[in-house]
Amino acid sequence: MAYDKFNIITSTAVPLPIENVDTDQLIPARFLKATERVGFGDNLFRDWRYNADNTPKADFVLNNPVYSGKILVGGKNFGSGSSREHAAWAVYDYGFRCVVSSFFADIFRNNCLNVGVLPVQVSAEFAEKIFTAVIGDPKTEIEVNLPAQSITILSTGDTEKFDISPYKKDNMINGFDDIDYLQSIKGEIEEFAANLPL
């Protein structure tokens, strides 16, 4: 599915310094019943964000008006658990384009890259610096520069490089997805399939 191209984002950030944020928190299973990709942002972090009677929980960061922006900064091992791409859809649909963490779960990272959310893995020290800066001053802007593969805290000038495969980087900058590529080599795939051991 098409997503907006990603180049450089400069934005304030939302801090969520909790470890092992799992996909059941990102989007609980009972909200996976749609047959179309719409409205998932409303249920992002549903049970941390809302009480059982659907009133907002004042102490959850998404309900705190001082924090906003296109960048979500999470604790270590972000996105563990299920393969539900709905978790990445919910992040994107809410309005985040980038998730920063010192460690990502594998499938979630992959899903993000496929739907236009950039997972930026930073060192534990740099993640701490971001939390300190953003919690100290919620107006702190972070620049995520995909072409340069860098993330910078603009107020302090602290900066770090991040990894991404050149293939995925190119896809995100251009808004391409893997199906476009795979469709282009279909003949090769069919020839390959004819010679498999099973």
Binding site: D22, L32, L182, Q183
Partner: protein
């Protein structure tokens, strides 16, 4: 060059390597269910492309299906809509569809192996992280997102960087009352939920060699809970005996060819792993989790550790214990239990029901416990009846439900109420996993049985002298 089992299967399936990018990996068998496939089909429709190899994809409904009265229309309109979408999409694209009421319907990772869709040395994917289950057969099997489901439907390929390789060795004799579930929960407690992230695991050693296919499936199923994309066990006689003659297993000459391929599927003696870990079977006891991720587990006789003893932040740890209503230093023995769930792709197979039944035989379900026994498939359900287990269960005050994922992820009505405690044979104890506010303790079918008959967390070793 020497290769690991993983290398052999992976390399056999690489269509093309992209410079500075992922491999294009061919997928032999693709399993789909109602929750993660509808948007993939929408994608196909909007691009105007067909399914390249419909005979390589199999559809079953399991995640949000009811586990009672399956002959009636599904009451929840959203679930019904997803089930209808799976049926109409499968029909439109010529995919085998095993919907509610179909004899082959059941949990995708239970029916796949039962019908021989799962084969050694195959690549298998599904939009479900517990696809790792099929690694028990020496297949490369892992969960994918919906975008990748669409890729597989359209091209039978996905694009993946080759993961690193880890081997986990366990030798020795498992103790009394220690099951494959305990082995897996033990490993996860040692590695944490991110300890194997970026790796594909091979399980080796006589503990795994001596396991049945059901036990191996339980272990491989939980690979994702240590962060690994998947885990696998080299196929041997036990594996071949299991797959032989099943409906979708190759037949005749194709079987001979397949058998020759299966026999190549083992790690070469001098192959190198990126990481290698060794544990001792004698260190493992029946396990139970006390927190809100599967890494927060321990031997059932231990006390909940102090924050200082565990890796990770104190705030996260305290949040977790607070959610569970537990405290550092608490013993798990005697903790209250309101619900017991036996089932799921982790422990919903015949062996699990045999174990559960062996312990509850001649005893009675505790008054305060609501028990949900949910077989993984109709084959498991039939075996439970044929082997006389149902009679024993009925006698002990239990009833059997119909196949499905059920309370593992509580997408249907099988939800544990807020604040209530469940001992569950499933795979995740995340906050709200079994229902908003539900508190889950993961354990083996034996620990679940001990809880079911005593009404509190109980060491199963204290209840019977001779366990199966």
């Amino acid at each position: 060059m020497s290769k690991t089992l993983f290398d052999k299967v992976w390399d056999t399936h690489v269509v093309r390597q992209i410079q500075d990018g992922p491999d294009v990996l061919f997928i032999d068998r693709h399993l789909i269910h109602e929750v993660t496939s509808p948007v993939a089909f929408l994608g196909l429709k909007s691009r105007g492309i067909r399914v390249l190899y419909p005979e390589r994809t199999f559809a079953t409904a399991d995640h949000n299906t009811p586990t009672i009265n399956q002959h009636l229309p599904v009451a929840d309109p959203l679930s019904a809509n997803q089930l209808d979408a799976l049926e109409s999409n499968s029909n439109e694209y010529g995919i085998s569809y095993w919907g509610l009421g179909h004899q082959k319907n059941g949990i995708v990772h239970v029916v796949g192996p039962e019908y021989g869709i799962t084969q050694p040395g195959a690549t298998i994917v599904c939009g479900d992280s517990h696809t790792s289950t099929h690694g028990a057969f020496g297949a490369i099997a892992f969960g994918i997102g919906t975008s990748e489901v669409e890729m597989v439907l359209a091209t039978q390929c996905i694009m993946q960087p080759k993961p690193k390789k880890m081997r986990i060795n366990i030798n020795g004799k498992l103790g009394f009352g220690v099951t494959p579930k305990d082995v897996a929960l033990y490993i996860i407690s040692k590695l944490s939920t991110s300890g194997a992230t970026g790796y594909f695991v091979e399980y080796a050693g006589d503990v795994f060699e001596n396991m049945t296919m059901e036990g191996r499936m339980t272990v491989c199923n939980l690979s994702i809970e240590m962060g690994a994309r998947g885990g696998m066990i080299a196929p041997d006689e036990t594996t071949i005996e299991y797959v032989k003659g099943r409906e979708f297993t190759p037949k005749g000459e194709a079987w001979d060819r397949a058998l020759a391929y299966y026999k190549t599927l083992k790690t070469d003696a001098d192959a190198i792993f990126d990481k290698e870990l060794t544990f001792s079977a004698s260190d493992i006891e029946p396990m139970i989790t006390y927190g809100t991720n599967p890494g927060m587990g321990m031997g059932i006789s231990h006390d909940i550790p102090d924050a200082a003893q565990v890796e990770g932040g104190v705030a996260t740890y305290e949040k977790s214990l607070n959610y569970m209503g537990f405290h550092e230093g608490d013993s798990m023995i005697g903790k209250p239990v309101d619900f017991v769930f036996v089932g799921s792709c982790t422990n919903g197979r015949i062996e699990d029901f045999r174990a559960f039944t062996s312990l509850v035989k001649g005893k009675h379900k505790a008054e305060n416990v609501t028990a949900w026994l949910v077989p993984g498939s109709h084959i498991v359900e039939a075996q439970i009846k044929e082997e006389g287990l149902l009679d024993i269960l009925t006698e002990a005050g239990f009833t059997l439900r119909q196949p499905g994922c059920s309370a593992c992820l509580a997408m249907n009505d099988d939800k544990v109420p807020a604040g209530k405690y469940a001992v569950s044979t499933s795979n995740r104890n995340f906050e709200g996993r079994q229902g908003p506010g539900a508190r889950t303790m993961l354990a083996s079918p034996l620990v679940a049985a001990a809880a079911a008959v005593t009404g509190v967390v109980t060491d199963p070793r204290t209840l019977i002298e001779e366990l199966v």
